[in-house]
Amino acid sequence: MISLANPTRFLSLVDRVVPWLTALTIILLATGLYLALFVAPPDYQQGETVRIMFIHVPAAWLAMFGYTVIAIAALGTLIWRHPLADVAAKTAAPIGATFTFVALVTGSLWGKPMWGTYWVWDARLTSMLVLFLLYLGLIALWQSIEEPGRAGRAAAILALVGTINIPIIKFSVDWWNTLHQPASVFRAGGSTIDVSLLTPLFVMAAGFTALFVLLHLIAMRAEILRRRVRALQQTQVERAALAEA
């Protein structure tokens, strides 16, 4: 693990992993979509709208996973001041924001036929919206400070403060009386979902997770290269100034 903390070694690992991970992601997503759209039966209560769950639930899981990655990376930035930790946090934000957006929109589209409304200000939905706003805030913070080190430290503090929202999202359905249903996949006593619906859900979740990791690795590679380009451009300017003097 420590050897991978070297950006050059990390880049070489990414170059080797990306083609395999791309193939795995395509296979998992194609299988998941086939199972979700053509194999899974309609739910006895939700009917065909249960098919929205196969994208909504994995997107919501990855929305929280993405923020957890940022929070762990923020610790790496603040405690060890490791440049890769900052890179990991910065590049996870747009991916996490996209999955949060997907979770909010697909949940809303499921809510209209099932609950009779697109949106209610209940604890689960509101805390997910807060997560989306946190992602946007982090992205804006990284964009507004030019020096990557300073931006990384400021964003790390904001990210750690926002971590409080993750358990709130997870336990909101237990702590408060919400319209959103309680946990039905990972719960004490086992899942309440039939295996015919659980299988496509897990395959889609695996596909979404592989996609998240793949995009995160590519984005991290791009960010490391961006910082190298920036450093080289500064060198170029300094050399030009020296030549003029």
């Binding site: 309609p42 009917g47 001041r81 991916i95 997907v102 929109v105 589209l109 380009v229 080289l232």
Partner: protein, 101 residues
């Protein structure tokens, strides 16, 4: 043809929005990666390289040098300077701070 029942529109829009959002994310990520590679290649073509890329040095002889000619730097090795002067470190290692255990 897939029969999605009376709420077909909601299902199609949900999948459509997901496809567009995730597809746009994937495209912008891959394009950004390509763009940074192009910029780096352009700078290297102009002869502007990172120190480690411009002067690759083998790291192997470090131990021998320590034994042959002890210096104050290697007399008391620390975690961050393990008995090797900074100039002879492996490419890429000089800027990386070792995380604490």
């Amino acid at each position: 043809m897939l029969d999605l029942g009376p709420h077909a529109l909601f299902i199609v829009v949900a999948y459509g929005v997901t496809f567009i959002a995730v597809g746009a994310l994937a495209l912008t990520t891959v394009e950004d990666d390509r763009q940074q590679r192009r910029k780096l290649a352009e700078l290297e073509r102009k002869g502007i390289r990172r120190r480690s890329a411009a002067n690759p040095k083998p790291a192997a002889p470090a131990k021998k040098a320590t034994a042959a000619k002890p210096s104050p730097a290697n007399a008391k090795p620390t975690k961050l300077s393990p008995a090797m002067p900074p100039a002879k470190r492996k490419p890429g290692a000089a800027r990386t701070r070792k995380p604490r255990a």
